[in-house]
Symmetry: C2
Subunit: 338 residues, 2 copies
DNA sequence: TGAAGTTACGAAAGCGGTTTCGTTTGCGTT
DNA sequence: AACGCAAACGAAACCGCTTTCGTAACTTCA
């Protein structure tokens, strides 16, 4: 069942059928209706590959996760962003192509090659931990790219990122206002734009508030797993010196820390106050409920879709955007209440 | 940069280049190396649409979420399964095409039409709550489909499902062995294979153990959100009559119930024991940690990929599989310990 | 040495659409 | 009656790759 069949059934040429599908104006109303009716009855759908081949447009957006550790889909934050992105880009007429993570993929081609292979019209690149070199090739290519939490720099790229510096300063400020002076940090041993920014800003904020940085209160996890956060916190506890408040760069790490603290017989927030970051759903269910910084994932995803659409279809100059984040106060940080 | 360019550069015909890419044997070793070198240097990648057009094979698997409520990606259980699926299917040489949910999509075509449009070679269908009619068209089509938690029946379909009946009986048995006799149920008001099976099996198990079914202890949520579980539990509490133990068909509902119970000033498990289902990550972080039934998502996803692959490539008769689930005992159910 | 069989390669016809450009037809105008 | 013009449609080239089949050159073997 192809365009030729339809054309024959309707007694017209394939050209005419094609024109009808593409809203050309030089086709009579009656033939148009006749052909449409036949297409309807036969349930005809044009082949996307033939169309793509002819038009060089695929109506496909590539989804790339730039991470080494977690296999993409397991990251709750990005899933939420992607979910919103997917809905919006769907409305705009695109479908999503998920590339298998490179290290799992059969062929070792870089992402750029795969984008060309599928002729995706644009890409959304979502940052995990470390960024592979092949991401940069894609970034610098002529394919429009939109980055989430990754600072793309290519001419056809833009990115969306939370105001990570402000996140940290807000956390420190909140601790300070709540009367805390001994504030610790649970970070991660990975080079990542996001976490690095948070850490730097955290230290700067401490300084701004005239607080001292006790090295004993800084501890680093090896990856983003809860278990690693647990181990890192255990390590800090083992040192003997504990802060009165702790900021974990990621909720998952905070969960781990929470477990370690509780296991150690300490109470939250009485003995040690805790704030995480990302505002995962699970923050509401921990004991005590975890104060966290909420990034507007819905907004990020939707905005990313619209930006990418504009970049693809209107050759708009890509303009990156910083998204404000919001502190969601719960019981873990010793504030009076919400 | 297409196959013709490569052919010209190497001084051979396009046929030869194509043969080299497809491992034909009737091409000399020296020419082969020469052409490969040129392809390497130029970074040439063949166009997938042209290839698909010519071969009728797209190397694409369609991903369909059959649900009305949650927008697909927000469902933690399915994400985990899909994650495993994606890794395995990636190894087998396929990429994933995510269809926008119908109700969000611009075009109102059914999934089957879209599958044909992209010539996906197979589909993974993941059940949300209600199943749209167009899913059944896809199921009955000639496209190989593998269902997760959805009982597909087409000739080219198979499905993977946890042993939901056993899940319920195991929960009841566990409660019974722990000394509980007044057992309640938190279900959902949606027609869904999975939850319905759990509910039916739950009731049967009660009977088997000679326990009475107090209607007051049965309550139903409107959807799968935590908030709805909270409201449902509130409703049960409002009735005054409370069971000593409660099985929630879904962890998210259990979380909601947990919140309602705690808010009401009751203790878990002392006043009421609680078991959920799915073993979401967050189960470990609730207070108390939630006992749940763990479905082996990794195994399900991987198996689904391999089954689908076989169905596509070996015309194997689809054979559905039931996966055993495992009770993960934590603090919420009043058992002696883990 | 000649017949038969290998090996290495290319010509060309698809695959299912799109798009340019030309042709036919009908109509109003002078 | 002759002309110009717009509307409606089709022929055919093209997109980039696959695959069949034919053929030339080279072996092998009786």
């Amino acid at each position: 069942m192809n365009i030729k069949t339809i054309a024959q059934m309707a007694g017209v040429s394939v050209a005419t059928v094609s024109k009808i599908m593409n809203n050309y104006t030089d086709v009579g109303e009656d033939t148009k209706q006749r052909v449409l009716k036949i297409m309807e009855e036969t349930g005809y759908k044009p082949s996307s590959s033939a169309k793509t081949l002819a038009t060089k447009r695929s109506n496909l957006i590539g989804v790339v996760f730039a991470g080494e550790l977690n296999s993409d889909l397991s990251h709750p934050f990005f899933i939420s962003v992607l979910d919103a992105f997917k809905r919006q880009i769907g409305v705009l007429g695109y479908d999503l192509l998920f590339f298998s993570n490179e290290k799992f993929s059969q062929e070792k081609e870089d992402y750029w090659a795969r984008c060309r292979h599928f002729q995706v019209e644009g890409c959304i690149i979502i940052a995990g931990d470390q960024v592979e070199p092949s991401i940069h090739m894609l970034d610098r290519s002529d394919i429009p790219c939109i980055g989430i939490d990754i600072r793309l720099s290519g001419d056809n790229s833009a990115y969306l990122m939370s105001d990570n510096a402000k996140i940290s300063s807000r956390v420190v400020e909140h601790f300070y206002m709540s009367g805390y002076r001994d504030i610790g940090f649970l970070g991660i041993n990975r080079v990542s734009e996001v976490t690095t920014t948070r850490e730097v800003a955290f230290k700067e904020s401490l300084e701004m508030f005239g607080l001292n940085m006790n090295p004993d209160w800084f501890v680093y996890s090896d990856d983003f797993e809860e278990e690693s956060g647990y181990r890192a916190m255990k390590a800090m506890i083992a040192r003997g010196q504990l802060p009165k408040a702790l900021f974990a760069v990621t909720d998952l790490l905070a969960f781990g820390a929470l477990r370690a603290i509780r296991e150690h017989g300490l109470r939250i927030p009485d003995d040690i106050a805790l704030i995480g970051c990302d505002d995962l759903l699970a923050c509401q269910y921990t004991d005590p409920a975890l104060t966290s910084v909420k990034q507007d994932k819905e907004k990020m995803g939707k905005l990313a879709a619209m930006m990418l659409y504009d970049m693809i279809n209107k050759q708009m100059d890509p303009k990156s955007v910083i998204i404000e984040a919001e502190l969601v106060v719960r019981q873990s940080c010793g504030a009076k209440s919400i």
